[in-house]
Symmetry: C2
Subunit: 112 residues, 2 copies
Amino acid sequence: MNTKESVEENKICPLEVAVNTISGKWKIPIVWQINEGKKRPSEFLRGIAKVDRRVLNQQLNEMVADGILMKESFHELPPRVEYSLTELGEKLVKILWQLNDWGKLLIPEDVV
Amino acid sequence: MNTKESVEENKICPLEVAVNTISGKWKIPIVWQINEGKKRPSEFLRGIAKVDRRVLNQQLNEMVADGILMKESFHELPPRVEYSLTELGEKLVKILWQLNDWGKLLIPEDVV
């Protein structure tokens, strides 16, 4: 989903900002995983096929910077890091559920 | 937004289908334009900066095939073609409005 080029010039379109924010590779799967109760990068790596650790960390950092995720570091040995959804992230999950319901309408009934 | 690789193997995830369906370049801007009352490809070309006609037509065809848009051809001279949202497309617009509202929360207040 690429809407980097502005639909309307000279104006910030919130939909464009929203789409750009969640369009990074793996961002939606990461939100989904956290919503399902997973917290640690190692769990995300198991849950999401084919993502590599470097890319995963980059996506996680961007999502923390955007205010979707919260990162908590535990000073233990070995060190432990956990991610959770912020209020903004929880709101996104609600929209993603609706998008999920909409997606069901796209799937032919004999496949489900 | 690339979720072509499945989050969960051996299972169709409706969210993934939904995201893949709307992630084509210009698809969300096209839906937005039609929602604003535009109907004809020439109007979309004016409304969306930098899209070329060939790519636009390809995206329109895919959206018709997916059941989001309806295409109507008028046998006039010069021939006229109009696109409109199907019921499925209207449902998508409702979700995009929510994503738009969510996007507002991402924009620092001093910018808006």
